[in-house]
Structures are given as C-alpha cells and as structure tokens.
C-alpha cells in the first residue's frame, strides 16, 4: 500500500492541528475530522492509515490538549518525522502510542516514499535513496510497543519506569 507523506514547515502549533475553539469533544473520530481543518483542509478528507507526517522544527508547539495527538492517531498516523518536537506534544505522542522520529527532514518531500524501519532505527527515502539513522530512547520504544503510557503502566506498574533510570 502506498503511504503518503504530508509535509509541514516549522512550528506547526496545536491550534493549527485541532483549533482550540473546535475541540470540545473527546470523541477521536470527531477530532479526526477537524485535523488541520483550516490549515490543510484536504488532510482530513484524504489521509489514509499509514500516512506519515513530516515536518520542520518545533512540531506541536502550544497547547497541552491531547486532542491534537488523538486526532492524528484517529486518522491512522503512527509516525511523525520532524527536526524537533515541542515538549508537551512529544510526551503526549509517546503517551498515546505514536512514535516521534527526530531527523533532518529537508530532503523529504510530498510525493516521495518513506520507509520507517523501527528495528534498524532508520528511515529511508525510497525516492532519493537517502538513509538516516534515528535515536530511539528505550522509554519511547517501550511505550510505543505497549501502545502508550496507560497500557505500559497497566502491564508494568509505576515500578516499570525504573528501568529507564
């Protein structure tokens, strides 16, 4: 299945992802529909499970509202590749079982094909052949494999966090 790259610039804030005045609901499917509703209106209509968001610096700046992550997850996004992430958004991503990948995204464009290999910790731009290694901190990997913070704690308890010290 072809996955599509959705490319964004720097400092894409949470109000652009899910505008504050609209995210009253906790329903993931309703949130999915308002993803980038004004910033990139075609996103919610055309996004398919497995598509990858690629962005510049400081992705997800702004609000702590998890709706921004819930909305993208409900659209089938699993990975976001960016030069850097805003702090709370990064934590919200790993807490909800999405994988933030920090990489140089200058050479990745829409229309290209990107392969994420978690086992090898690499992303490969299949169109240009560019291969990049990324860092996968143990906590991020374990949370991702568990499906997020709540599932990790249900399985391992709070004591399960001690392995990351």
């Amino acid at each position: 299945m072809m996955t599509r790259i959705w490319k964004f610039g720097d400092s894409v804030n949470t109000d652009l992802i899910t505008p504050g005045r609209l995210n009253v609901t906790a329903d993931p499917l309703a949130l999915a529909k308002i993803s980038f509703i004004e910033f990139r209106p075609e996103f919610a209509r055309e996004v398919k499970p497995g598509d990858i968001i690629v962005a510049g610096k400081n992705f997800g700046s702004g609000s702590s509202r998890e709706s921004a992550v819930i909305a993208l997850k409900a659209n089938g996004i699993r990975y976001i590749v960016a030069k850097s992430f805003s702090r709370i958004f990064y934590r919200n991503m790993i807490n909800l079982g999405l994988l933030p990948i920090v990489a140089n995204t200058d050479g990745i464009q829409e229309g290209q094909t990107l392969e994420v290999n978690i086992a090898n910790r690499t992303i490969t731009n299949k169109t240009t052949g560019e291969l990049q290694a990324f860092d996968l901190p143990p906590l991020v990997e374990k949370f991702f494999n568990a499906g997020g913070l709540v599932h990790f704690i249900q399985k391992n308890g709070v004591a399960g966090l001690q392995q990351f010290q």
């Binding site: 504050g20 609000s63 850097s84 010290q165």
Partner: protein, 422 residues
C-alpha cells in the same frame, strides 16, 4: 517538609533533588513524587478514561484540584455536558474543584508553595513557577498517571539563566520584557529547558509581574519558568493566603551550571508588540502604531491580575473606548475581581465602555466571550497569538501589555501608552 533546599545546583536541580532525596543533575531521568497536580475541565475530560484504566482511585485528592476556567459559565449544550461529566468525576473521586478563576492564577493564589514540584494539565502551567517552584505542563495521560499514583517521570532539565538588570522605562512592564526575551531566544529557544529569571529588575518586581514572566516561558518551549523565592514572595503569600507559612527561600547555589546565560538590559526596552502569528515577532511599538483593531482584550493567565487592571483603569479613567472597537476585560480570578471592584478599577473600566466578563480564560482561546470574525484584528494581552486562536483563521492577534491595550482601546488603533501615563 524541610523549609530550605538541601541540595545544590540550579533551582530546578535543587527542587528535583529534594523530591527524590538525592543530588540529581540536568539530564538525569527520575521518578519523582509531586506536591500537587491539577487539570482543567478540558484536559480532565480526556483524562477520565485513563484514570479509570489506571485503577480509578486518586492517590491523594487533597493534593489535586480541577479548575473550570476554559468556558465559564458554559456557552453551549456540548460544553455544559462536558463540564457536567467532569464535575461528576471530581465529586465521585473526592477531588476539590473550583470555578472562580484561571487555574494558573488560583494555583498561585492558593496552592503552589516555594520549593514545590507541581504538574498541571495545561501548557501555561509554568506560571506559578514565579513563586520559586518547578511547575510543569503535561497532557491528559500524564496527569492521569499522577492523579492515580502521585508520581511521574521527569528528565531533569538544563537551565537557561536570564539576568535582567537596568531599569524598566516608563510604560514598560513584564509583558514587554518577556516578548523581548522570546523574540531574542525564539519560540523554540528554551524547549525542554528550565528558564530562571534573575537580576535587579526581577528582584524588585512584585510576584504579579513575575507570574507574567514565568507564564510566557512556555512560549519559548520551556519545561518550567522559575523566579527565586524572596521577601516579595513572602509578601505575596501573606496577602493571598493570610500568612506566609508556605514560604521558604529558593535560589540556585553559586556553583550552579547553566547551559546558557542571557543578559538583558531592561533600560533599553520599549513598549513592545508581538506581531501575528508568533510570539517571537516582537517589535518596538513604533512599528505597530496606527493599526486599526476591532477588539481589545485585557486578561488571560498572563495579564488579568490586579496590577494589570490598575494600569488599564489609570489609562482609561474618564476616557471612552473608540466607537470602532470593543474592549473585553476578564479578571484572572474572583479575588482579583473583588479587589478591582474595591479599588474602583472595574467601575472605571465599565464607565469607559469595557465589557467585563466572568473570571476565566475568556476569549484567549477563541471559545466564547469575544470570538473574532473573518479578517478581524485584535490587540490582546494573551500569552499567545497563533493564527486563528481567538476565532476565524483569517483573524489577526497583536500581543502586548495592558497599558498598550488600554491606549489602543481609546484610539481604536494600536497606540503608544506613554502619552497616557505622563
């Protein structure tokens, strides 16, 4: 709790060390107990399922609070139903809840103590770090973990020290200062970091203004924004809580290692405006004068305190809001509201034509009480001026101090407050 910090380092390192009972350093991964945890109605709504999945029992309800501040009173059936659900959750779990002010303001007035580690499910949680505490913003999953266990994991942050010396010129306030600092460091310049505010300007600032600095450290991506706790902090606690039992001195130790030290000469700063749509687009007011505005907003967790309303009232006393604009004023808490009435500020503002609204987040996030229409322009004391934040995506937000806001309300276009403060 010992009323002095035992360990060494930056304020963040010292407070995190205190919580885990051993010396920790920037970069260390720790699991720490928190002193207090809070959420507001919106972030609580998303935390309820996670709390249930984590055992549905609150670790210590007296160390938690839920604040209704984002849309108060409810402005639609949908919002009312969310608030009903959250209220029932709070009651059934024995958690105290409040609807008389913005969460960050109430944390500062009533709950956060110098030396505390606090987490809050809202991005402007760093605000009450101004009391000499580490207050960190998180999302709903993290708050669910802490509500149920009393702990969370943290990476002890590196610290950027900002020394603010010189003297603030007339009509220049903490708001101008922090926009100037964010413009210097950029909207991501402090990501993951603790920002510590020092220097003679901070020493002589009241806590009210320090709260503005710490609040907007979030706008450079900071994990926390901290001011030392001193005599001013003690005075603030005495005023707000009737005693200073919660006070203790908090500062870094002389051997602290800072990742970056930034020197700011306050004497050089002018009244400053952040242009749309980012906080690091700060310019001296001369670059923004004359821009016509449809709405002016004075309030939010950044600038809805008594000293802010005082400045606005002083400028608007005997004047009228221009006919082409509207002025919305939202006190940050009921306490602020009452004090502003006692001092006559509310009366002055209302007579000038202001629409004074219930304490809360108000129009800052575009949910009620002053939403912007297509292509409208607002001058706001908000912490944040993102595109579309206050309403229509084509609307524009200029951010700055209550003084500029008041002068702007009089003229209906962005105006220099200095001429009104002679």
């Amino acid at each position: 709790m010992a009323r002095e910090l035992k360990f060494k380092g930056t304020i963040a390192e010292r407070i995190f060390s205190e919580k885990v009972g051993r010396q920790v350093h920037a970069g260390d991964f720790i699991i720490a107990p928190v002193d207090f945890a809070m959420a507001h109605e919106t972030t609580t709504n998303w935390a309820i399922d996670s709390v249930r999945e984590l055992g549905d029992k609150i670790w210590n309800p007296s160390k938690t609070a839920i604040f209704f501040d984002h849309v108060v009173p409810a402005a639609s059936v949908q919002v009312a139903n969310v608030q009903k659900k959250v209220r029932e959750f709070a009651k059934s779990h024995g958690m105290p809840y409040f609807w008389d002010g913005i969460c960050h303001q109430l944390l500062a007035e009533r709950f956060v103590r110098p030396g505390d580690l606090v987490i809050g499910a809202d991005s402007h949680s760093p605000t009450s770090g101004a009391l000499g505490a580490v207050v960190v913003g998180v999302g709903s999953s993290d708050i669910a973990l802490t509500f149920t266990t009393g702990v969370n994991w943290f990476r002890v942050p590196q610290t950027i020290r900002i020394n603010i010396n010189g003297r603030l010129p007339p009509a220049v306030y903490a708001k101008d200062l922090i926009i100037h600092i964010i413009t210097k460091l950029s909207v991501s310049g402090a990501t993951y970091k603790s920002v510590e505010f020092h220097g003679s300007v901070v020493d002589s600032m009241d806590v009210s203004d320090r709260l503005t600095l710490s609040n907007m450290s979030a706008e450079m991506g900071a994990k926390c924004g901290v001011c030392p706790s001193d005599e001013k902090t003690k005075q603030f606690l005495e005023q707000a809580r009737g005693n200073s039992n919660d006070w203790m001195p908090v500062d870094s130790t002389p051997d602290a290692h800072y990742e970056q030290i930034v020197e700011i000469n306050a004497s050089e700063i002018e009244p400053t405006v952040a242009l749309p749509h980012d906080l690091d687009k700060g310019v001296p007011i001369s670059h923004a004068i004359g821009i016509s505005v449809d709405q002016v907003f004075i309030g939010a967790c950044t600038n809805g305190r008594l000293s802010d309303l005082e400045i606005a009232a002083r400028i608007l006393d005997g004047k009228k809001v221009a006919s082409n604009t509207r002025l919305v004023v939202t006190p940050a808490s009921r306490t602020v509201y009452e004090q502003a009435m006692d001092k006559g500020y509310i009366q002055t503002l209302v007579r000038a034509g202001a629409l004074v609204t219930t304490p809360g987040c108000g129009p800052c996030l575009g949910r009620h009480a002053g939403v912007l229409g297509d292509n409208e322009v607002c001058f706001a004391t908000n912490p944040r001026n993102y595109q579309g934040r206050m309403g229509a995506p084509t609307s524009k937000i200029y951010c700055g101090s209550p003084a500029i806001a008041a002068a702007t309300a009089i003229e209906g276009k962005i105006a220099d407050p200095r001429k009104y403060l002679r």
